[in-house]
Every structure is written in C-alpha cells, then in structure tokens.
Symmetry: C2
Subunit: 87 residues, 2 copies
C-alpha cells in the first residue's frame, strides 16, 4: 500500500482542526509531521478534507512512496512519536 | 545519490540559525521542510551541525531515500518552494 509522509504549515487558528484531521488518517510523528499507509481512496479523502480547511497561505505537502521500505527515518532530539494509528 | 527530506521543529529562538544551516545543504520547500541530494559525508556534517544547535525539546527528522525517483511530492496550497540549491 502507498506510504505517505505529510507536513502541513497552516495558520495557528487552523492548527487544531488540521491536527485532528490528519490524526484520523495518519500517525503523528512530530509537530506537523505525519506518516502512514493509505489507500488511494483514503488519500483522496484526506486531500479533499485538508483542502476544505485551508485558507490564505496555508500549505500541505504529501510525499508519496510506493512502499514504506523505500524510506528510512532518522530522528534527532527527543522521540516524540506515538505509534498508534487512529483508523 | 541518497535523497533527503528534512523537517525540523525547534524553538523560535533557534529557527533562524536552523533555516540558515539547512539552506546550506538542502532546498527549502515549505516552512521547516527541506529536500535534496546529499552524499553520506554531507549528511553526517549536517546531522552534527544540527545536533549542536539543538536544545531542550527541539527535534529534527530526516527521511532518507536511495533515490529521488522513489518519491512523489503532492503540494496543496500556494507553491512556496524555490528551486535553487545553495551548495
């Protein structure tokens, strides 16, 4: 299944809503960084929901990988991630 | 050459220094997100320099890919990236 890394950069007024939305689909890693497997349909839903919440200069970036195996994560500093998925 | 996606989450006091450091090695994409090819030696230097700047609950995450071809970027919102590298 495709694996996604998502990072958003939104006005603080919308941070709470974005966090809640992204947590429904992905695993929270750090601040505004999320990861996880999504089907194409799930990804499209997340994309549409995120787009609806966004205003002004808000931005979201998704990195799409064919498989989690293609990427290694190297973290410096405190490990903040929780490993639970909310789907 | 390995391809990196880097995201930092640091106290605002250190944001300027982090931005300057990461721009020396990678291309700025959005807020605290950077991308680019680095040799293993370049990556190690960046890792050491970032680690020296970090304090308290600061965090940096690097995603390492064997090749840029393994990843697709999907951006929502304004395209803020500049395409110049500073190496």
């Amino acid at each position: 299944m495709p694996y996604y890394i998502a990072v958003y950069d939104v006005n603080e007024k919308r941070e709470g809503k974005m966090l809640k939305l992204f947590r429904r689909y992905l695993t929270w890693i750090q601040n505004s960084v999320f990861e996880g497997e999504l089907t194409h349909a799930q990804f499209k839903s997340l994309e549409i929901e995120a787009d609806r919440l966004m205003k002004d200069s808000d931005g979201v970036i998704f990195y799409q990988l064919r498989d989690e195996r293609y990427v290694d994560r190297i973290a410096l500093g405190e490990e903040k991630a929780e490993r639970t998925r909310f789907l």
